[in-house]
């Protein structure tokens, strides 16, 4: 009874190891699938070739190179790897009161622009996102006001260092408040950010003056928090403002104007209300699909269920409205437990599926400044490729094969947890890919 799953797991491990990570020079050719390059029209019977982690060719009449592992994906679809451009992939869940077992996650400082998400990501947790075809994720803790700087990860490999696409990816400001510390009000949050930017600019000037003529001068004190803002001040690093209200979008723009920094807004469930402003200002948008986030209890009186319902409905329609108005935007999980369910909800509410696919591939790559290397199926880009069982983003469609940096991962093949004694173990489902390779 108990031997079978263990044997199966062992067998899988043996099978998986040689192609668990792209061997150098490995070449794949996905043949016969319906290919969605995103950067161009759909190719009905297309071939996607990638070598050594980079896409080599995409097209209808492409012949698989000699020596390539040819995988027949007839009846399936091929898309770029999905990008979650703003969320908590791989981060430990926030500490809940009395969770038993395991050490609690280290408490992140709520006001630490110098904190690095990279230091908090758990590799094994992060890799789970691949089950849904997500190959790239921008990671930043949800808690706090200045939660630090995000990392952009490619979700494949054995070491975090090898997964980094951009570090730091952006500095983040959540338009939120703290429970028992400054800033405890939204106006406090804005004031805190404003003062931090003034301080960071002065810190820059102070060090510049010192470096220009150090002799005879007192050395300025090193301040990691002010140091963290420096590349934001130069415009090199993006400031991503989490905008949960309509007016947070305006607040983000006001900060951009006051300090001449480059901003994007994230979540923005009410962005469609200010779509003209967003278009005029070409404000990069990372629109959340976490339509029903947990809400803070009402301080006074009874909770306004009617308003909450309206807020949820508005958020669900937000992507479709933005699309209709001609705005460009990415869809991001914004900590939704099921990213793709949120994307499907946006489609249900009127967002065309094609636009939705772009919004979770090429669009986030554009916002995050990596569209030259990923986000679409084009020669020369990183071989983040997903083979789906059916129409991408349809309800019952599953990711069958996920390639990250050209290395194959098969969600179906991952070892299942051992069933408890007495329950019959499910028979392992046959993997089409494994058969094709034999």
């Amino acid at each position: 009874m108990r031997a079978r799953p263990i044997l199966a797991a062992l067998l899988l491990a043996v099978l998986a190891s040689p192609r668990g990570y792209a061997a150098r020079g490995e070449v794949y050719a996905l043949v016969g699938g319906r290919v969605f390059p995103v950067s161009g029209p759909v190719i009905e019977k297309g071939t996607v070739v990638f070598r050594d982690g980079l896409i080599e060719a995409v097209g209808a009449g492409v012949a698989p190179p000699i020596g390539a592992r040819v995988i027949d994906v007839k009846g399936m679809t091929v898309t770029p790897g999905l990008v979650d451009g703003f969320g908590g992939v791989g981060l430990p869940a926030p500490r809940s009161g009395s969770a038993g077992g395991g050490s609690p996650a280290p408490a992140a400082s709520p006001l630490a622009p110098q904190a690095l998400s990279l230091d908090r990501v758990r590799l094994s947790e992060a890799l789970k996102a691949r089950d849904n075809g997500i190959t790239t994720a921008l990671v930043i803790p949800r808690e706090g006001v200045l939660p630090g700087q995000s990392v952009l990860l490619n979700l494949g490999g054995e070491k975090l260092e090898g997964m980094v696409l951009r570090q730091p990816a952006a500095l983040h400001l959540h338009m939120a408040t703290l429970a028992r510390a400054y800033p405890g009000s939204l106006m406090g949050t804005v004031a805190y950010a404003r003062q931090a930017l003034y301080d960071a600019a002065r810190y820059r000037d102070e060090w510049k003056a010192y470096e220009a003529a150090a002799r005879g001068r007192k050395r300025p004190a090193y301040d990691p928090a002010l140091q963290a803002w420096q590349e934001v001040l130069t415009g090199k690093e993006l400031l991503i403002v989490t905008a949960s209200r309509e007016n947070d979008v305006r607040r983000a723009l006001a900060l951009a104007d006051e300090f001449k920094v480059r901003v994007a807004v994230a979540d923005a469930p009410q962005a469609a209300r200010v779509v003209e402003l967003i278009k005029t200002r070409k404000l990069p948008l990372l629109v959340g699909v976490n339509f029903d986030p947990p809400r803070a209890p009402a301080l006074f009186g009874t909770p306004d269920d009617e308003k909450e319902r309206r807020d949820i409905e508005e958020a669900e329609r937000n992507p479709a409205e933005l699309h209709k108005a001609g705005a460009s935007f990415a869809l991001v999980s914004a900590y939704a437990p099921d990213f793709l369910a949120g994307v499907r909800k946006a489609i249900e509410r009127g967002l065309p599926a094609e636009a939705a696919l772009r919004a979770i591939t090429l669009a986030p790559a554009e916002v995050l400044g990596v569209a030259d290397r990923l986000g679409s199926l084009e020669a020369g880009k990183i071989a983040n490729v997903v083979v789906w069982s059916g129409e991408p983003l349809a309800k019952d469609t599953k990711a069958k094969m996920v390639f990250v940096d050209g290395a194959l991962y098969e969600p179906d093949e991952k070892p299942k947890p051992s069933p408890s004694p007495g329950t019959p173990s499910p028979s392992p489902s046959p993997s089409p890919a494994a058969e094709d390779l034999r």
Binding site: G184, L186, M187
Partner: protein, 433 residues
């Protein structure tokens, strides 16, 4: 981002201009009884002519130009728009930054919520301007925002451009948190003594800050154009405000109740050489009315609301009348979204309690709060040259059965009972709720 993109961003920032808030059409409000609250007093069968959002002429023999939109106010009362000197309407994400004793750096203007339906409801009560104040959680709170009730416009359009900036102060039970204990949370001060120390300490720091910047400015001047520029002192957004209070550039609106704390603040302000613009609530103001008048501060109080906490027990309904009799500029405020809709009845109470004249009582919700907010040259009375902020009542504003029929801000009709759809919107304006 490269320089080009930054340049584009800067261009884009300049491009969208706020929606026009000033009416372009010429309007004549005719046939009503005009309570000007200005030198022209009461005018029966008067005409108020509005051009470019301002009052062009007022009188009985004002010619109405061809093409002007005529609003028939016969049988009605036309008064200046009501001004609420103490409001917490249309503020998003909390009215208190409670976590520190001094938070002069936080700004209500950063968190305006133009969709707050209370803006519309207050227009329906004839209110055209309000002083949105930080709460009274700490001795020195945040910066207030004086707004006009431009319902349906964006947050920046609400701001009353040109109104002097101000900071909220608070004395007594609220800043010492005696009625708001949160287990496990303590914050200095916890006594009235402590409140005074916080204020004194804050202004000492502001004096140091002012000196530091003055020295820097002196060095820059001495170095001349080609000399080495010294490093500027740290710009501290909190101390910026306190320094500007010392320099008389920023008003102080001080929440207070008891006579002793009012005197304390007057003495402290005299010591540091600044002025209190208004005492807010000031329920024991009648005990120290002469001192308030001598300092030159205004007083913004309730007509007959008291007893809701210990420091509000020793109040009398004659407070407004007594302070006014001693030469204090007195206003009656709401501090509340509901009371804000019927401030004209609060003014009527000043007639009932203390025998204030009708005109003086009406001033307490129009011209007097306008002075307290530093906008009396712009609003608060119906006079040629002033902003066309006007409310039209069905009967005298002190009549128990009166109601507001129409409210204009800068000559734009933002409330019109005849066109109200019962959902908080009219055809020409409208918000989200």
């Amino acid at each position: 981002m490269n320089a080009l993109a930054l340049g584009l961003l800067a261009l884009a920032a300049a491009a969208p201009s706020p929606a026009p808030t000033r009416a372009s059409e010429t309007i004549a409000i005719r046939g009503g009884t005009v309570l000007t609250v200005g030198p022209q007093g009461m005018i029966t069968n008067g005409t108020v002519l509005i051009r470019d959002g301002r009052i062009a002429a007022v009188g009985t023999d004002v010619a109405v130009p061809a093409g002007a939109r005529v609003i028939d106010a016969s049988g009605r009362y036309v008064i200046p728009g009501i001004i609420d000197a103490h409001s917490h309407t249309a503020i998003e994400g909390g009215v208190n930054e409670c976590t520190d004793a001094v938070t002069a750096e936080v700004r209500i203007a950063d968190v305006l919520d133009p969709h707050d339906v209370n803006i519309y409801r207050q227009l329906a009560g004839g209110v055209t301007s309000a002083n949105l104040l930080h709460g009274s959680c700490n001795p020195i709170g945040g910066q207030n925002a004086v707004i006009k009730m431009r319902w349906g416009k964006g947050p920046a359009d609400l701001v009353f451009a040109g109104a002097p900036p101000g900071v909220k102060f608070a004395l007594g039970e609220n800043p010492k948190r005696s009625n708001f204990r949160v287990p496990g949370v303590t914050r200095y001060p916890a006594t009235r003594m402590g409140v005074e120390v916080v204020l004194r300490d804050a202004f000492r720091r502001a004096q140091d800050y002012k000196r530091e910047w003055a020295e820097y400015d002196g060095k820059v001047k001495a170095a001349g154009a080609k000399g080495e520029r010294p490093l500027a002192p740290r710009k501290d957004l909190e101390l910026d405000e306190l320094r500007d209070i010392l320099d008389g550039k920023v008003y102080v609106h001080a929440h207070c109740y008891r006579a002793d704390e009012i005197l304390m603040l007057i003495h402290l302000a005299d010591e540091f050489g600044f002025k209190i613009r208004t005492f807010q609530h000031v329920l024991e103001g009648y005990k120290v009315a002469s001192e308030i008048a001598k300092h030159g501060a205004g007083a913004s109080t309730f007509a007959d609301f008291w007893g809701y906490k210990l420091e509000a027990f020793d109040a009398i309904p004659y407070n407004a009348a007594i302070m006014a009799a001693h030469g204090v500029n007195v206003s009656l405020n709401s501090d509340d979204d509901e009371r804000a809709r019927r401030l004209y009845w609060e003014a009527a109470k000043a007639v009932k309690y203390g025998g204030v004249s009708e005109t003086e009582a009406l001033k307490m919700v129009t011209l007097n709060p306008a002075w307290q907010l530093g906008v009396d040259k712009r609003v608060g009375s119906i006079e040629a040259g002033k902003d066309a902020d006007i409310a039209i009542f069905s009967a005298h504003p002190f009549d128990p059965a009166t109601r507001v029929e129409m409210t204009l801000v800068d000559g734009v009709v933002y409330f019109d009972r005849a066109r109200d759809d019962g959902k908080g919107t009219i055809a020409s304006a409208g918000g989200r709720r």
